[in-house]
């Protein structure tokens, strides 16, 4: 039984956590809240590109390091824990789409830039009025896309978008060069990560795989995003536990009260359940396993439950100070909303999980 990350992947995760602890974190997140702040931390982006993190998952033939999805998940968790203001998770998700569905020519064209950090690529499926990844409406007409995508995480400053558009067999992915598209910043509940609106007026796009590839990408994206959420949830829990060890009320530290410590224990329980399913998801990506769909959906649901709960109870257990603008609690509380909106809502994924179980049961019958 070897149900765990490889030592190499864990080492990369530790390296990332160390760098982000130094160069990202809540102080950097607070600087990014300023209206005139840059779209992302360009110096940090250059450093992580130089360290090869953007190249981690890119095949060696295209200038990358050819690592596994385990490495992407470790990086996503470290980024989530530190709120790092870089488009790393978005680029990891776009990389996954190119890996699943990119032709040799597409991979040769886009991967070298992604690997060296000069191409920032982001997935774009959200669109006004579309509630789930299944109800997106924009369509391709003669290889040209028309419609609006918003909110799109990390869009301002990005070069390439992987756009989900409706098709005869269901949605599929398209590659859009953002130089030819209209990109605007929009405000969201998340004050740290930039989001944008992508307006496509008959913009030329390259098809990236078929409807099945889109579904496969959703699974992998759900697993990587689950690790980002686990990282954020853990940071909220750790901050709260540290506070509960020092804050005194009624003559003792509040961490002694069961009303406080049991909520901290529940944070841990929810995070560990999410970890179990997310790890199942990584294992299934690695082995191309039949249980990927159910594992990914369970990871998505459990990780959203963990990050929402930890974000909410972090504010609650900090009390009044936690509700102030100056407290760091708001970063986690708000980021939970960003993660929930990043790939379709919890309810849709819970239903996708049950559909996957039904398919499995029918196959077994």
């Amino acid at each position: 039984m070897n149900f765990d990350f490889s030592d190499d992947a864990k080492a990369l995760g530790e390296q990332a956590a160390k760098l982000f602890a130094d160069k990202a974190g809540t102080a950097a997140a607070r600087r990014a809240m300023a209206k005139d702040a840059p779209d992302f931390d360009a110096a940090l982006w250059a450093e992580i590109a130089a360290l090869g993190w953007t190249a981690a998952r890119v095949p060696e033939a295209h200038g990358g390091l050819g690592m596994s999805a385990e490495e992407s998940c470790q990086l996503a968790e470290a980024a989530g824990a530190s709120l790092a203001v870089v488009p790393l998770v978005s680029t990891l998700l776009a990389t996954e789409a190119l890996l699943i569905a990119g032709t040799e020519a597409q991979q040769a064209k886009y991967f070298p830039g992604i690997a060296d950090g000069s191409t920032i690529a982001v997935p774009a499926w959200n669109e006004p009025g579309a509630v789930t990844p299944a109800t997106i409406a924009i369509t391709a007409n003669g290889g040209k896309l028309t419609g609006v995508k918003a909110p799109v995480a990390d869009l301002p400053g990005a070069h390439l978008a992987i756009v989900a558009a409706a098709g005869a067999d269901g949605p599929s992915l398209w590659i859009v060069d953002l130089a030819a598209a209209k990109v605007e910043s929009i405000e969201t509940l998340d004050l740290v990560r930039r989001h944008g609106r992508l307006t496509l007026n008959g913009v030329a796009a390259e098809p990236l795989g078929d409807a099945a590839a889109y579904q496969a990408w959703l699974d992998r994206a759900a697993v990587i995003l689950a690790y980002e959420a686990i990282g954020t949830a853990s940071a909220a829990m750790n901050m709260t536990v540290e506070y509960a060890k020092t804050r005194v009320a009624f003559g003792q530290t509040i961490g002694r009260y069961q009303g406080v410590k049991h909520k901290c224990a529940d944070m841990f329980i929810k995070i560990e359940l999410a970890r179990a399913h997310a790890l199942h998801g990584v294992a299934m990506i690695g082995s191309d396993g039949a249980e990927l769909r159910q594992a990914a959906a369970a990871a998505r649901v459990a990780s959203l439950d963990a990050v929402s709960f930890c974000g909410e109870e972090a504010v609650q257990l900090h009390g009044g100070i936690g509700f102030t603008w100056e407290s760091d609690c708001q970063f986690y509380y708000r980021r939970a909303r960003a993660l929930a909106a990043s790939l379709g809502p919890r309810g849709w994924w819970a239903d996708r999980l049950v559909r996957a179980l039904e398919v499995r049961n029918r196959a077994a019958a």
């Binding site: 039984m1 149900f3 199942h280 959906a297 179980l357």
Partner: protein
């Protein structure tokens, strides 16, 4: 990353499987009628002796005490293989899992020589006498007294929630030997003969209707000082050794308890309150998803722990979430499913549905599971204090003499 055995584990598994195929054939199917206690004990003893002869008992124990000297993975693998059969199980789990390791760790060489081999081969059954009516979660608050009389001790008091006391030959008992000391310091542990004069065992009928536990009354029961486990006043530390062995027993969902699949099956056959098949109703599907996440999440968490054991490492703190999730999930799922079945979910006996009866049993049993082996509340304390490092609850009686505490 994989779920496979290492080559050495695979070899051990194959050998165990072959032995079971040959020796446990009569237990391939569950008994048509549940065994009565006498039959269960008779079969348990015969099965234990067979396992002993083949080297499948005391797998992790030192060879000096008749064990196999192997690692926890071998013990888990054997357990997984045996669980594919319906051999009698449970009679020895507390004795061999908790009591005897305490006996050979803290008892004298003579005592270990007398009791360990007979327990391992299954000739003698053991129980653990810890909880009392006024000491459950707060175990160190026990009141059963032991008073020294020459080279013997005289025990008076009452224990409760003792599994298999009625079938046991011996037990380990925590007693208070000095009530003038603070409560953790005046305790001492002994081996007692369950058939000794002054011992009385009475069954407890649980709210679920079953009778799996006992009350045990001690009236002037005499124990030789040679049967003391550890030093006088050191009983709390000895008890912690016993409980540490309990931690290795992985607390997953009881083997035959209904899970998310039961809910899916039920939902295919009944109508939703909003009309249409329940399996198509949004709230039902959300609850199925939640049950899967909790049930399967604990299974996967245990696989993480097994992966650490397989590499010869200690499992991380993640497995401490197991029972607290399992018990409440069982209760919530059963309650939701019974509700889905409407009035049928409420009828029992000859007019009841056998499938729904399993859910009813699970609903009633879950109430006990949330208390047994650490309540939900104590387990949350343990996670908060031992895993997250939060300070312990304030314990006003901790340093006061036991007989002076409120």
């Amino acid at each position: 990353m994989d779920f496979n055995d290492t080559p050495a584990e695979a070899e051990y598994r194959a050998t165990a499987r072959a032995w079971l195929e040959e020796n446990a054939a009569e237990y391939r199917e569950p008994p048509e009628v549940a065994w009565k206690l006498d039959e269960f004990i008779k079969r348990s003893k015969a099965w234990q002796a067979k396992k002993f002869a083949a080297g499948y008992t005391g797998i992790t124990w030192p060879k000096a005490f008749g064990g196999q000297g192997l690692g926890p993975m071998q013990s888990i693998i054997y357990g997984q293989e045996e669980s594919r059969f319906h051999a009698p199980s449970g009679l020895y789990s507390i004795g061999l899992g908790m009591c005897i390791p305490t006996v050979f760790t803290h008892g004298s060489a003579e005592v270990a020589q007398r009791y360990v081999p007979k327990a391992l081969v299954g000739d003698e059954v053991w129980c653990q006498l810890f909880s009392e009516p006024s000491a459950g979660s707060d175990l160190a608050g026990i009141r059963t007294r032991a008073v020294k009389d020459g080279d013997e001790w005289v025990i008076d008091g009452q224990k409760v929630w003792t599994s298999f006391a009625h079938a046991s030959d011996y037990g380990i008992v925590v007693t208070r030997t000095d009530p003038n000391l603070p409560k953790h310091k005046g305790l001492t542990m002994f081996i007692v003969d369950m058939k000794a004069p002054g011992m009385e065992v009475r069954g407890i009928k649980q709210m679920s209707g079953g009778s799996d536990f006992n009350e045990v009354f001690f009236t002037g029961v005499r124990v030789k000082d040679s049967h003391r486990l550890g030093d006088v006043g050191n009983g709390w530390k000895v008890a912690l050794t016993t409980l540490m062995h309990e931690r290795l027993a992985v607390g997953g969902k009881p083997r035959h308890a209904p899970g998310y699949e039961t809910l899916m099956k039920l939902a295919r056959g009944v109508e939703a309150p909003v009309g249409g098949p329940a399996i198509e109703a949004g709230d039902v599907r959300q609850r199925i998803a939640q049950s899967y996440i909790n049930d399967q999440g604990i299974k996967l968490t245990q696989m993480r722990a097994l992966s650490a054991l397989s590499r010869g490492q200690m499992p991380g703190p993640e497995q401490s979430i197991s029972k607290v999730v399992v018990a409440k999930t069982m209760q919530d799922m059963a309650s939701f499913a019974l509700d889905l079945a409407g009035g049928d979910g409420f009828v029992t006996g000859a007019d009841g549905d056998p499938e729904l009866a399993k859910l009813q049993g699970s609903y009633l049993g879950a109430a006990g599971l949330r208390i047994a082996g650490g309540t939900d509340e104590i387990l949350r304390n343990i996670i908060a204090e031992r895993v997250l490092g939060l300070p312990g609850d304030l314990r006003p009686d901790k340093d006061k003499p036991f007989n002076a505490a409120a």
